[in-house]
Amino acid sequence: MSTQYKPAIHFQHVDYRIGDIEILNDITGSFPQGRITTLVGPSGAGKSTLLKLCNGLISPANGEIFVKDKAIGEYDPVELRRMVGMALQSAPMVNGTVYENLNLPLELQGQQLAKEEALELLEDVGLKGDLLERKVKELSGGQRQKVSIARTLVNKPEILLMDEITSSLDRASKLEVEELISKINRKYKTTIIWITHNLQQALEIGDYTWVMMDGQVVETGESSLLEDPQNDRVEEFVKGVVS
């Protein structure tokens, strides 16, 4: 991994298991600050688990995780999760309007999001302001995903975790979301860690990539490694996905 950038998150010999089943094994590596790193690999490789470790939704069985050079266990969980935001593929929503969903992060802190700010957020994610009072049930998959990203941005996270957020979107929505993430990265210098199954997406959007298999990181580096993998298993995986 590049040494040009300070690590936003650093994993040091991290293991994670559920009961006797080992999900992650000896993960070591860093996600550079202010850059986009993609996580690729077959299903069941442990990518989503790794993401949940980053914002403390789960804790490792062994090893240490550092967020901005501070051990993750030293953070107050609430403070950590506001700093490390997360958007999921399923884009879960609370029943109600788009505004109620955007307001949720502040409502949890006993505050309220100003309507003007909400409209600005919608504009940021490429949605029209008239959606603000629309019920989330009436939104398309792409619109939901954008609202989910906008909601995550309310906390102004320094690090943004994204779990296959474009996998269920049509091509046009996918491109819009990709552009949006690049824009967020450029505008706010937000560190992005993005799980994707789409290697083309990883190549085009990501600065760096981690390839994971069977709970281990098998190759890391600049995204171009996906065009010329050094590891045989990664080469096989890339060929399998591309063909």
Binding site: N55, L57, P77, G85, M86, L88, V94, L104, L108
Partner: protein, 249 residues
């Protein structure tokens, strides 16, 4: 009622047994066991109650109520096996509800502090609280399981465990209270409550029977609300650890 008349009530057991046999329902054995158990249990309770009433000892009243709480806890805890320490949580809830309701009844001199009042009313309160606990735990464990993504969403946005589980908790409290509220809405229109019917059959003044029934119904409303809320707020913290992570059963 004479012993002969009592024996004739077994006709009401023979009818379903006959139906079960004719229609191959396979319930004959269960119904027979239930009948024998109810005869033995109720006769035993009758003799125990007679002994306790005659002795007028507070210790025996206390032991009777304690026995009810132990039996009710044992029965209800099976439904909440996924929740850590559920047995003592149910026991504490039942004790709290019993102390609260008897405290109000005796404290405000609504009913006398005698075995004749304390034991039957405690039986109704504890029994109802047990059923409410089962209804609540059934719904709560299902809500937590079904809405795990919602819980993790709130946590990931920086919410506390209480905020993350709030909706599921409220839904479960409401759902477990619905049968009590609904049965009160139709009482007297659809059915006459068992206790009131029993008093009237035994020759009591119907107005007095109604007064006691109202007391019991209001008491059961408090029982329902306090049981669900108390058990809910005792249970939800054990679903999370100190790092505010949702523990998976």
């Amino acid at each position: 009622m004479s012993y002969w008349a009592l024996s004739l009530t077994l006709i009401f057991v023979l009818i379903p047994l006959l139906l079960s046999k004719t229609l191959n329902l396979g319930l004959g054995r269960d119904m027979t066991v239930a009948t024998i158990r109810s005869i033995i249990q109720l006769l035993a309770v009758g003799y125990v109650l007679k002994f306790v009433f005659d002795s007028e000892s507070l210790l025996y009243i206390f032991l009777m109520v304690a026995l009810m709480i132990v039996a009710a806890t044992h029965n209800a805890q099976k439904k909440g096996a996924a929740i850590q320490g559920i047995t003592w949580k149910i026991a504490v809830t039942l004790i709290f509800v019993e102390v609260l309701t008897q405290g109000i009844l005796i404290g405000f001199n609504i009913t006398p502090a005698t075995a004749q009042y304390i034991i039957p009313i405690s039986g109704m309160v504890i029994g109802n609280s047990m059923v409410l606990s089962i209804l609540f735990l059934n719904r709560f464990t299902a809500e937590v399981e079904d809405h795990q993504d919602q819980t993790e969403l709130i946590l990931s946005l920086g919410g506390t465990p209480k905020q993350a589980i709030h909706r599921q908790l409220i839904n479960s409290i409401k759902a477990s209270m619905i049968p009590t509220i609904e049965s009160q809405k139709t009482v007297g229109l659809v059915q006459l409550p068992g206790m009131m019917s029993g008093q009237i059959i035994a020759g009591a003044d119907p107005i007095q029977a109604v007064q006691f029934q109202l007391l019991i119904m209001f008491l059961l409303l408090t029982t329902a609300a306090v049981t669900s809320v108390f058990l809910g707020y005792l249970s939800y913290p054990t679903l999370f650890n100190k790092r505010m992570q949702l523990l998976k059963g």
